[in-house]
Subunit: 404 residues, 2 copies
């Protein structure tokens, strides 16, 4: 064994320490001892150094480049990894990303462009028909993805009790599905903001095709530039892209928009407690992303004297949504490889699989927060209207204790 | 007009400034100009000095002593007062109360004794039959108080999806209604903590009478001394008495009790944003009380890696509950005067009326927060099980936009 071989072996031993109970082996060093158990296979020993320098980025990039493979189910492997206590800190690189990816008006454009302007055709391969790229809502566990996305849009509309002819502003509207759904099924007028050019073009085209252009206006601008008064404010999957430093300003924008009489909903990926977003995800997938704890998110609402009316954690629903996405993605895997190359395809597979694992394990949460201005008086007495009767029945064994 | 008369007139003018658009007049200075409009009548000019020194305490004590009266509806008058921007600050007296009423283990006993050991017979005059002294839940606006308190107890049990033979700990159990309800209707075993001797005696007696002593144990101790493992943790109307300095420790107690696999519910009076509790209420009614904003309340849960699953704001329900209480209190007013004297009776009338006003205006909120440890996997997919079909139907005008 030469020096480089010995070095590889030491690095391998160290990598094994980091990986915990998951075996790490060099490709060609014989077959797995327990073939059913997930294992990390290193195809190119040069990746070991990057892995040790920064395990998260080293693993993410090594996997994307095909230098590392995972034998067995990728999601289960990642779930297991996320359950281990963190063995390293990426504080320096994390702070550096905070700085270079800061969500100024210009920074946000750059960050959003990186992800959402990839091409609608790519997302069409694995999203639902309406191209909703946020957590769905499964009234029953076996609902289809299309039905679950429609159920989510209805849930959002019911949570802010929309009534015909009211006005709604949407901050971060994706490909426009929710804005169009609100206008069509709840009779409201919508102004929907997005800084992704590709998405706005798509949404405008769809509004025109469906005869809703007079009721839904798609505006290519940062939601911080919203002006005018509205009855309700809705933002689904946008807070994650804002960065916690901008929450106070964002709260002011909302208050300027709906005043003390309006109401609103924020739907966002969150955390149980404050911690930095995955460094690899920020480098390769979502520049500038940050998932706040509820305590942090309150910095949007409390300084404006907004009342929190309702919060629901849809973490299990996001795991399910992502399972659908990954399954469709795998079905279109060859098409992705042909258009974007194998590195991109593996990178996105890892991102989707890792997100499933994080929502299953609880590293990520999904919060829907309903709030209202202090003078908003129209809200219903109970939230029973959120449910249609189509939900999975919960087995409740009501139990009467025999009184002696 | 003598010197003291001139002084009274200047003080009156100043009091008028503080009172905003509500007329203030000295008794005997002729009838009200607009008899329907609420007005402050000062029977004893000596109270004006106290009123100017500290309007909140001066008004509360002056009203209790009969030196001040309110013409017209007391609740509407207070609602109007609460809508005015605050014209004074009681910072010094507020800090002083923080200090002398601190919720150490001993301080809490003293504070709780002041309010809850008054005598069960007093509370029986105006609470529901089961003596539930927390916000009720009205599935329909016209539900009776007895039904609304039972509905609240069922709502709490459903929110933490209790199953037969599970174990529950309750922190701050009042006269024991919820603990007994959980045991009888959901088949669980309960340990219920309270530091009010009078309430614990009452609850034990009721458990014995109803044959539930083997399933519900009432313990006269501070909930911070809880030991043992339980499936669920429930606390209704206790966090307000803990003081925000003790939240971290309280969170540790909960985590020690239910670990990473259990779940729990906190029901408490809260705020839209952090502010001190009414100085008069703390001096005369609830020593040591503090109503946190959601952001502050997160200090209980986030450091323990608990996931917030569900939050509901029941502010409108507390206004309704208090309306029932005040109405029953007024019916028993003579009995209260005879037993406790007129000062006590007026003080409690003002406290109940002021609480209605605060919940109507939004100075106070009522939060129910459901949370779970990060390894809790038993939770239902949706919250549709919270609703029984007995709720008020919400008029939803679903609206299909004609596609052109």
């Amino acid at each position: 064994m030469g020096t480089s071989g010995r070095l590889s072996q030491s690095l391998l031993r160290f990598a094994q320490k980091l990986a915990g109970d998951v075996p790490v082996r060099l490709a060609g060093d014989g077959a797995a001892e327990e073939p059913e158990r997930p294992a990390i296979v290193v195809h190119d020993p040069r990746v070991l150094r990057a892995l040790l320098l920064n395990p998260e980025v080293g693993f993410g990039d090594g996997y994307s480049d095909g230098q590392i493979d995972v034998e067995g189910d990728l999601v289960s492997f990642l779930e297991n990894a996320y359950r281990q206590p963190a063995r390293f800190s990426s504080l320096v690189i994390s702070r550096w990303l905070d700085w270079i990816q800061a969500n100024t008006l210009r920074g946000s454009r750059r960050n959003i462009h990186h992800h959402y302007d990839l091409s609608s055709d790519f997302y069409r391969l694995w999203l639902d028909r309406q191209m909703v790229y946020t957590c769905a809502y499964f009234p029953k566990a076996d609902a289809t993805l299309e039905d679950a996305q429609t159920a989510k849009m209805d849930l959002v509309c019911r949570k802010v009790w929309l009534r015909p002819e009211e006005t709604v502003v949407e901050a971060g509207c994706g490909w426009g599905a929710l804005a169009l759904h609100m206008a069509r099924h709840y009779g409201v007028r919508v102004k929907a903001f997005n800084i992704s050019h590709e998405q706005i073009m798509f949404a405008r085209e769809r509004a025109k095709r469906e005869g809703l252009s007079s009721r839904v206006e798609f505006i290519e601008d940062d939601c911080r530039n919203i002006s005018g008064r509205f009855d309700a404010f809705v933002s689904v999957g946008m807070l994650e892209h804002l960065g916690s430093k901008n929450y106070l300003e964002f709260g002011r924008v909302i208050h300027r928009t709906i005043g003390d009489c309006g109401r609103g909903l924020l739907h966002f990926i969150g955390r149980n407690y404050p911690r930095a977003f995955s460094v690899w995800i920020r480098k390769r997938i979502f520049p500038g992303a940050y998932a706040p704890s509820l305590q942090e998110a309150m910095n949007v609402l409390e300084p404006q004297n907004f009342s929190v009316l309702h919060v629901e954690n849809l973490r299990a629903h996001y795991a399910k949504t992502l399972e659908h996405w990954l399954s469709r993605f795998e079905q279109s895997y060859q098409a992705v490889v042909e258009t974007f190359g194998p590195r991109f395809a593996r990178m996105w597979r890892l991102y989707l699989a890792g997100s499933i694992a994080a929502f299953r394990v609880g590293g990520l949460q999904l919060f829907q927060v309903v709030f209202a201005g202090n003078k908003c008086t129209s809200r219903p007495l109970t939230w029973s209207n959120l449910y249609t009767g189509a939900e999975e029945p919960v087995q409740e064994k009501k139990w009467i204790h025999a009184i002696s």
